[in-house]
């Protein structure tokens, strides 16, 4: 059982201000500023190459920004805060020579915030075959296993980078249901980067649109809909 850190109350889960990133003389992110409140499901939308993956790597603390600040729950992001963030990499791969069960055995010991109960629930929900070798899994199966690894932890912030790329329909629906199921308690924040809007449109609380390394807009989805616009139409307006 974890004790809720009282000092986290009221602080936004993610806060970026004036973030700049230059990789090999190319300006990948330019003056990026936005906020995501705790407990919300935020979407990071933008075309390919907009800088989404770089931004997410910044949030996990893997890359330091060249300018500006990145704060998670009020404190600066960095590799020492990895225990508070559960990150699903884009096109990542788990060790192919392990079976799903073996990997989960390791994961349970490697992640200090692993929740065995959740793991069991999710194995059923996501239909993971523990005996199957990761190298023999289809893309959909491996995607579900990777998501399970992320969701079985109790980290307060979950960042998913393109969780649906190349995944079959049924797996996608299972993944979306699982994500929603994890949200319902209200104490986890999700940031999902995707350019697959139709899948996730109904899930987002708020969206941040990013293109060419700059923030093109940040909206509360309910407000958008009150004004008669859908997330998709908003995206088209900004990017098309």
């Amino acid at each position: 059982m974890e004790m809720k850190d009282r000092s986290l109350e009221g602080k936004p889960a993610i806060r970026c201000e004036g973030v700049e990133v230059v990789i090999r003389k190319k300006q990948v992110l330019r003056n990026v500023s936005f906020e995501v409140e705790a407990g919300r499901l935020a979407g990071l939308l933008g075309p390919n190459g907009a800088g989404k993956s770089t931004l997410l790597r910044l949030l996990t603390g893997l890359l330091p920004p060249d300018g500006g600040t990145v704060e998670l729950f009020g404190r600066p992001a960095g590799p020492e805060r990895l225990a508070e963030v559960s990150f699903l990499p884009d096109r990542g791969q788990l060790p192919v020579y392990l079976s799903a069960g073996e990997w989960l055995g390791f994961a349970a010991k490697l992640y200090p915030d692993w929740n065995r109960g959740r793991e069991r629930e999710l194995i059923e929900k996501l239909e993971i075959d523990r005996a199957k070798r990761i190298g023999s899994m289809s893309r959909g199966e491996e995607a579900r296993l990777q998501l399970l690894t992320c969701l079985s932890r109790e980290a307060p912030l979950l960042i998913l980078d393109e969780p649906f790329t190349g995944v079959d329909l049924v797996s996608r629906e299972r993944i979306a249901s699982a994500v929603v199921g994890e949200m319902a308690d209200g104490d986890r924040t999700f940031l999902i980067a995707t350019h697959d809007i139709r899948e996730m449109e109904q899930l987002f609380d708020c969206i941040v649109l990013i293109g060419d390394g700059a923030v093109k807009g940040a909206y509360d989805v309910d407000e958008l809909r009150q004004a008669g616009r859908s997330v998709e139409s908003c995206y088209r307006e900004v990017f098309a």
């Binding site: 929603v180 199921g181 209200g186 109904q202 009150q226 008669g228 616009r229 859908s230 998709e232 139409s233």
Partner: protein, 126 residues
């Protein structure tokens, strides 16, 4: 008490340009009014609804709050959410639906320059 069925995406038709909770509220109200949801029938929890329909739990919560405000559903602590058994509330919602339908009919009639009755006659003409 065993839970009732959970909703699937087939049960609803959604327009992404309008607030989702409003649409869920309307359509669930219609289900109650038509009797597709029996009085006293148990509804899925907020979490189950969100998970089954793949919508944000906040949306599901707002939907139930609205429906509760309209007295169409009741939540009993520890037991779940149920369709109201109150006849009056259901009848009231049926009347509201009927009024809405008639209003639309009247609007269409007006746009054709007819009264609702004339519109009705016109439709039945061969």
């Amino acid at each position: 008490m065993p839970p009732g069925r959970n909703w699937t995406t087939e049960d609803f038709r959604l327009d992404p340009s309008r607030p989702l909770y409003e649409q869920f509220t309307e359509q669930i109200r219609a289900m109650i009014a038509k009797g597709e949801l029996a009085p006293g029938e148990r509804l899925p929890s907020v979490r189950e609804m969100a998970s089954g329909l793949r919508v944000n739990p906040t949306t599901a919560m707002k939907t139930y709050q609205e429906l509760e405000r309209m007295n169409l559903i009741v939540t009993y602590r520890g037991q779940g959410t149920f369709v109201t058994r109150e006849e009056e509330a259901i009848r009231r919602s049926r009347r509201q639906l009927a009024q809405e339908a008639v209003r639309q009919l009247t609007e269409t009639a007006r746009s054709l320059g007819l009264t609702p009755e004339q519109l009705w006659e016109l439709a039945r003409e061969e």
